[in-house]
C-alpha cells in the first residue's frame, strides 16, 4: 500500500483537529450551559420588572376605579331647575325623561339592506 503525499497531509491535519475537538467540545458545552444560566438570570430579572410593573398597574387601576366611582363624580346640573335637571354619572348623560321618546327598533329590512339584496338578485 502506497501512501500519497495528499493523504499524509490530511492525517497530519486531522490528528491535531481530533485532539483539539475534545477540549473545544467540552468548552462549548460549558459555555452553552453558562449562557443558558445567564439567560435564566436575565429572564428572572425581567420577571421581577414585570411583577413590579403589574403591581403598579394594579395600584393605578384601583386609583382609577376609586376616581370613577359614581359617588365621586359631581352632579353639576342637579338642582338647577327641574326642567334642566340632569343626572351625570359614569360618563353618561341622562336627559330629562319628559323630553325622551323611546323608539322601537325598525321591523323588517332596512333601506340599505333592501337595496343591497335587490342588487344581488339582479
Amino acid at each position: 500500500m502506497r501512501r500519497t503525499r495528499k493523504s499524509g497531509f490530511i492525517t497530519w491535519l486531522l490528528k491535531p483537529l481530533c485532539i483539539a475537538i475534545i477540549p473545544l467540545g467540552l468548552f462549548g458545552i460549558v459555555w452553552l450551559r453558562s449562557s443558558v444560566t445567564k439567560a435564566s438570570y436575565a429572564i428572572h430579572d425581567l420577571e421581577e420588572k414585570r411583577t413590579s410593573a403589574l403591581k403598579e398597574t394594579k395600584t393605578l387601576l384601583a386609583e382609577r376605579s376609586k376616581l370613577m366611582a359614581i359617588s365621586n363624580i359631581s352632579l353639576p346640573s342637579e338642582g338647577q331647575g327641574s326642567q334642566e335637571k340632569r343626572l351625570v354619572s359614569g360618563g353618561y348623560v341622562f336627559p330629562d325623561r319628559v323630553k325622551v321618546v323611546h323608539m322601537n327598533r325598525t321591523k323588517g329590512p332596512e333601506a340599505y339592506k333592501a337595496s343591497y339584496q335587490k342588487e344581488k338578485a339582479d
Binding site: I43, A69, G90, V100
Partner: protein
C-alpha cells in the same frame, strides 16, 4: 570504560527519579480519586443537601382573592399589592436606636412601639403590615439590618361605603368577615403553595418559568353601582330629614329576583371595617325582623281574591272606626265609613282588613302567608338571613285574628315583604332573590351562573293583576301613598306603619314607629320593585309620609338611569333616543 560506568550510574539515578516521580503522580491522582469518591459517592447526600441549602430557595406562590364586579363589570372589590415589614430582633439588635429612628419617621409609628417589637424574644415579628409600595421602597432603601419585607395583597374596595352590607369585607389576614366575601369565600380564595428556585452566591434567582401568583374566581354581582348609589344617596337624605335610627332599602327585578341595590343605614367604610361599630355592620334588610303593619294586608287581600270570597265591589262597614276581636279593640287611623274591597287596601283600613281576615279564617291566612314566603328564609346568597316567624293557626290567641291580617303578631324581614310584592308585580311567581349572577375563573371561564328553574306560582295571573290594580289606587288620590306618585309612570304599592314595642312597658309604643313603603314601577310592566323602611323617624311616622317620597325620588332617577320609557309619551318637545 570509565565514561561508560558514569553513564550507567546516571541512567540508574534517572530511572529511580522517574519511578519516584511517577509514584508521586499516581499517588496524588489516587488521593484525588479517593477524595472525589468520598465526596461524590460516600458523602453524596451530605454535600447535596448542603449545596441545595445554599443554592435553592423556597418562595411562596402568592395567593390572591378573586375580584368582585357589579353587573356592568365595574370594580367593587379588588386586590392591591403591598409589602409587610418584619424584623428578626436578634439580628436587629446591633444598632436599635438608629433603626427605631429611621423606621418611626418613615412609618409614622411611635419609636416605643417599634422598640417593643424589637425587644420580643422571637425570631420573627411583624412591624407593620400591608404598606404601600412607595413606603416599602423607602424602607428597602434604608437597608436596616434585621428587617425585611414580604409581599402581601390587600383587599381594596374602590367605592368605599357603597354596597358595604352586600360586599362584606375581609380582615387583616384576608379572612372573610361579612357579606359576599364570606358567603362565596370558597370561590374567591385560592391556595398559594410553594416553589423552589435556584439562586447564585449573590442571591440572584434563576427563572423557573412558573407563574408566581394564583388568583381565585371572580364574582359578578347583580347589583348596579349606579342604582346602588341612587338608593344610598336618597336613603341618606331621608335619614337626615327624619332623624331616623336606621333605614334600609332594597331594589329588585321582580321577574328574576336579581337584587339591583340593597342599602342600609347606618353603614360603614369597607376599607375601615375594623373601626366600624358592630351594629352598623349588620345587614338589617335580612337580619332584622319587624312587624310589617299594613304592608302585610296584601296577604288577606290576595287570599280573598284568589279564594273568590268577595267580588271587588263588595262593601265593608268601617263607619265605627274600630272593631273588637277577642276583647281587644282595633282602631282605624281615622273613620272611613263604608268601603269597597279596593278601598280597604287603598285607605289601609284595619277594620276592613280584619273583616276580610275573619271571613278567610286562620287556616287560609296562615296558608297564604306561607305561600308568600313569610316565616321562611328567602335563601338569598348572603350570610345571616333570618326566617322571621308566623305562628301556626293552632297557636293563635283570641286576638290573633284581629292582629295578623293587619301585620301584627308576625315578624318579617324587608326582603320577605319585597319578595311578596314582587310576586304580585310579576303575575304570581315567587322568585328567589339573589346577588350573584355569575362566577368565573380568572381566565373568564364560567364556573357558576344563576338559574331559577323552579319558579313557584303562588297566585293566579288574574288575582295578581287585580291586586296590581288595587295597589295602583293606593298611590292615587284618596290612597295613603300619594307622595309616591311619579310623573310619567304609574306606581303600585302599599304603605306600612308599624308600632314598636316599648321594652319597658311591653306594650306598643306611642312614639316609636317603623314607616315603610313597598311597591313597583311601571305598575303594569314593572322594571323595579322596591321597599323602603325607616326605623323610628322623628316628627312623622306614617310610611306614606316618610318612606313613600324616598321611593319616588329613587324610582325617578332609577328609571332614567335604566332608560325606561314613560307610560304616556308627551306629544311635543320630543327628544329621540334610540335603544
Amino acid at each position: 570504560m570509565k565514561q561508560g560506568w558514569l553513564n550507567q550510574g546516571r541512567d540508574e539515578s534517572s530511572r529511580k527519579r522517574s519511578i519516584i516521580l511517577n509514584t508521586i503522580i499516581i499517588a496524588s491522582f489516587a488521593i484525588v480519586f479517593f477524595r472525589l469518591a468520598d465526596i461524590m459517592v460516600l458523602k453524596n447526600s451530605f454535600y447535596s443537601d448542603k449545596a441545595r441549602m445554599q443554592q435553592v430557595k423556597t418562595e411562596d406562590i402568592q395567593a390572591r382573592r378573586g375580584n368582585i364586579f357589579d353587573r356592568r363589570g365595574r370594580d367593587i372589590a379588588i386586590n392591591l399589592e403591598t409589602e409587610s415589614l418584619f424584623c428578626d430582633p436578634d439580628e436587629a439588635s446591633s444598632n436599635p436606636q438608629q433603626a427605631m429612628k429611621q423606621l418611626s419617621s418613615t412609618l409614622n409609628i411611635e419609636p416605643g412601639v417599634i422598640r417593643a417589637k424589637m425587644s420580643q424574644d422571637r425570631r420573627f415579628v411583624w412591624v407593620d403590615r400591608k404598606l404601600p409600595i412607595e413606603t416599602a421602597e423607602k424602607i428597602r432603601d434604608l437597608k436596616i439590618k434585621g428587617f425585611g419585607l414580604v409581599p402581601e395583597s390587600k383587599r381594596f374596595y374602590p367605592k368605599g361605603m357603597l354596597a358595604s352590607h352586600i360586599v362584606g369585607a375581609v380582615g387583616k389576614e384576608n379572612q372573610p368577615l361579612e357579606g359576599i366575601e364570606l358567603k362565596y369565600d370558597k370561590y374567591l380564595k385560592t391556595s398559594g403553595g410553594k416553589v423552589q428556585v435556584a439562586r447564585d452566591a449573590g442571591g440572584r434567582v434563576l427563572s423557573t418559568g412558573m407563574v408566581m401568583e394564583t388568583k381565585g374566581n371572580d364574582i359578578v354581582l347583580t347589583i348596579d353601582e349606579g342604582l346602588q348609589y341612587i338608593v344610598e344617596k336618597e336613603l341618606d337624605k331621608a335619614m337626615l330629614k327624619w332623624r331616623a335610627a336606621a333605614a334600609n332599602a332594597i331594589m329588585m327585578d321582580p321577574y328574576t329576583g336579581e337584587i339591583l341595590a340593597m342599602a342600609n343605614r347606618p353603614a360603614f367604610d369597607l376599607n375601615e371595617i375594623t373601626r366600624a361599630n358592630k351594629h352598623d355592620v349588620r345587614n338589617r334588610a335580612i337580619t332584622d325582623i319587624y312587624e310589617p303593619g299594613s304592608t302585610f294586608k296584601i296577604v288577606v287581600g290576595t287570599a280573598a281574591l284568589e279564594e273568590k270570597l268577595f267580588p271587588r265591589t263588595q262593601t265593608f262597614d268601617c263607619s265605627r272606626g274600630s272593631i273588637e276581636v277577642g276583647g281587644k279593640n282595633v282602631k282605624d287611623s281615622h273613620k272611613n265609613g263604608v268601603l269597597s274591597f279596593d278601598e280597604v287596601i287603598q285607605k289601609s283600613s284595619n277594620v276592613g282588613s280584619i273583616l276580610i281576615g275573619m271571613k278567610l279564617g286562620k287556616e287560609r291566612i296562615y296558608e297564604y302567608s306561607k305561600r308568600f314566603g313569610f316565616g321562611d328564609r328567602t335563601d338569598i346568597d348572603l350570610p345571616g338571613e333570618v326566617s322571621g316567624w308566623i305562628r301556626k293557626p293552632e297557636k293563635w290567641s283570641a286576638t290573633s285574628l284581629g292582629a295578623i291580617p293587619i301585620g301584627q303578631e308576625v315578624a318579617v324581614t324587608p326582603l320577605q315583604v319585597l319578595r311578596a310584592y314582587s310576586a304580585i308585580a310579576n303575575g304570581g311567581h315567587l322568585v328567589k332573590p339573589h346577588l350573584v349572577s355569575e362566577i368565573r375563573t380568572p381566565e373568564g371561564q364560567p364556573v357558576y351562573s344563576f338559574r331559577d328553574d323552579d319558579k313557584k306560582r303562588i297566585i293566579s295571573e288574574k288575582t295578581a293583576a287585580a291586586m296590581r290594580d288595587i295597589l295602583k289606587k293606593v298611590v292615587e288620590e284618596g290612597g295613603t301613598a300619594t307622595s309616591a306618585a311619579m310623573d310619567g309612570n304609574q306606581v303600585a304599592g302599599k304603605t306600612g306603619t308599624a308600632q314598636l314595642v316599648d321594652p319597658r312597658t311591653k306594650r306598643y309604643s306611642k312614639d316609636r314607629f317603623i314607616g315603610s313603603f313597598v311597591g313597583f314601577v311601571p305598575a303594569d310592566k314593572p322594571k323595579i320593585a322596591m321597599i323602603v323602611v325607616l326605623y323610628e323617624p322623628k316628627g312623622q311616622s306614617y310610611g306614606g309620609v316618610v318612606a313613600a317620597p324616598v321611593f319616588k325620588a329613587v324610582a325617578e332617577q332609577a328609571l332614567s338611569y335604566m332608560n325606561v320609557p314613560r307610560d304616556q309619551m308627551p306629544a311635543k318637545n320630543l327628544q329621540l333616543v334610540s335603544r
